[in-house]
Amino acid sequence: MFKPINRFIDFLNRKNVILFMGITLTILIIIVAIFAPYIEPYNPTKMELSQKFIAPCSKYILGTDHLGRDILSRIIEGSRVSLLTAVFVVGISVFIGLTLGLISGYFGGAVDMVLMRIVDVLLAFPTIIFALALSTMIGTGQINLIIAICCIQWTRYARVTRGEAVMLKNAEYIDAAKTIGNSNLSIILNYVFPNVISKIIILASLDMGTIILYCASLSFLGLGAQPPSPEWGVMINEGKDYIQYAPWIAVSPGIAIAVCALAFNMLGDGLRDMLDPRMKETVRTE
């Protein structure tokens, strides 16, 4: 009776299903975001007050909101906002974190000292509160939100990169490379960087999911994107007032966020399984 289940589990164990699903979903989301204007059944910002609060039906698959806008179209349009934001945040943070982490780890000394203390301070603070404080300070809006989250997020990459760089700095083959007469820059680029990058890729893909959640949370609190932007967090916030009357307004954007975050989480999880040897099962032969 359990045979099919067992075979399925066996299949799960052998293939990196999570990674496969992650990649598929991610590509799907990216396609949706790129071709959003062609996929949207209606104009996402067009109001049709006579069509407001229509429950999901065949005409409006996910229903309409309080201003008669088609929710599905808005969600599709919103994927661009979320994805772009996450890509920017991760890209900028990785760049800053990687650069500073490499410098700090490879050269050490006072730079390392100062940088790591800054990292300590920034990490001594729950990300969301810091982003929250910062984004209110520098004003609301999506760009400010990106800046605010980048301010904290780079520390994660800096710390990981530095750790790896410190470890590699003392490795014998780096010493060898030095004695041959390679410059510091070429050692960093040719030896240290390739060793760090796989860890950074795992971290970055996991972070994409987290950042989509952060942005949505902050927008939900009214600190990120603002209406009428079809950002998912904003849509949930708008729908919150109608949960009794028209629950679908708040429900579907949440699922969109979750699917997006799930895609990147699975991608990161799968990549970790594949790239991080620590997690692999090893067979003791000796």
Partner: protein, 317 residues
């Protein structure tokens, strides 16, 4: 003499994904009571897997074939619950790599006494007596500060000291068979002699049989009654210590002995083949200096000699 352990045609393979990788092939040997059998060979040839297989401690994805008989009872496929009483009490193990084989968060004394207290039904010793007997063992192993060491964590002791703690864990239950895995690997040269002496004493005083896994031929020579030479998951030659060392029959044994520093340090050419990609014929064929045409086509058969066997086409009785 009666056989304490009889291993016949032991086959071990690991399931890696959908592929099956054969590690041990038709390994057969026996150990008599109070006899020390040394297994020598290169790193990665399957020595430790043999030990683990006897202890039923192979990873989950392992498949075991053939038969292992202990005291005449077939223990190859008996259930974990039935086998557990054998471990520690009948068959004990002294693991390799002292740095990782001790629980870092438990005091060493407790780790040693644990071997006994978990089987109180058998050893009705009181805590105090137990501690005394452990300290007694410590002192026999020439550990310093024996009373304090009992309450130390492994990280507070040196590698050699930890190795001796591991040995004491193996012998505290007075087992009939001791599987010793690379006892001299982590020990510096000065201590090596002492550790070897400990095993010699063990054999004399406690009268326990041993499966002495090592790549240290000199150590094997001092301790073992017989030597089994293992290559790539197979025993290629087994026989009395003196016979094997002084009159090696298998080309691999010859090479191994020649590579000993005392014998001139002539290192063999080539590497052991990967288990995933084994040659069809004799596994040693690619490196063998005395190979014939048959060697690459057929597997050599076991040829019995006095108290052992050889697997080689070149060997003639």
């Amino acid at each position: 003499m009666e056989n304490l352990l009889e291993v016949k045609n032991l086959n071990v393979s690991f399931l890696m994904g959908k592929r099956k990788i054969h590690i041990l092939k038709d390994v057969s040997f026996n150990i008599e009571k109070n006899e020390v059998l040394a297994v020598i060979g290169e790193t990665g040839c399957g020595k430790s897997v043999t030990g683990s297989a006897i202890l039923h401690l192979l990873p989950e994805n392992a498949e075991v074939g053939g038969s292992i008989k202990y005291n005449g009872i077939d223990i190859t496929n008996i259930h974990e619950n039935e086998f557990r009483p054998y471990r520690g009490t009948e068959i004990a193990a002294v693991p390799q790599s002292p740095s990782t084989s001790l629980d870092p968060l438990m005091k060493v004394g407790k780790q040693v006494s644990e071997c006994v207290t978990d089987k109180k039904y058998k050893y009705g010793e009181h805590k105090k007596q137990l501690k005394e007997s452990i300290i007694n063992i410590f002192s026999k192993l020439k550990l310093p500060r024996i009373n304090e060491i009992y309450d130390d964590y492994p990280c507070e002791l040196s590698g050699g000291m930890n190795q001796r703690i591991l040995i004491s864990m193996g012998i505290v239950t007075k087992p009939k068979l001791l599987i010793v895995d690379e006892p001299t690997k982590a020990i510096d040269w000065a201590l090596r002699k002492e550790v070897i002496e400990v095993f010699q004493d063990l054999k004399k005083e406690r009268r326990c049989a041993m499966l002495f896994i090592t790549h240290d031929i000199a150590a094997a020579k001092c301790v073992a009654d017989r030597i089994a030479v293992m290559y790539c998951g197979q025993i290629v030659e087994i026989g009395y210590t003196n016979d094997v060392l002084n009159n090696p029959k298998h080309p691999y044994t010859k090479g191994l002995i020649a590579s000993m520093p005392s014998r001139g340090f002539h290192v063999m050419e080539g590497y052991m083949p990967s288990f995933a990609d084994l040659p069809i014929g004799c596994r040693f064929e690619p490196r063998c200096s005395e190979k014939t045409d048959n060697c690459s086509k057929y597997e050599p058969q076991m040829i019995n000699i006095k108290n052992g066997y050889v697997k080689c086409f070149r060997f003639k009785l």
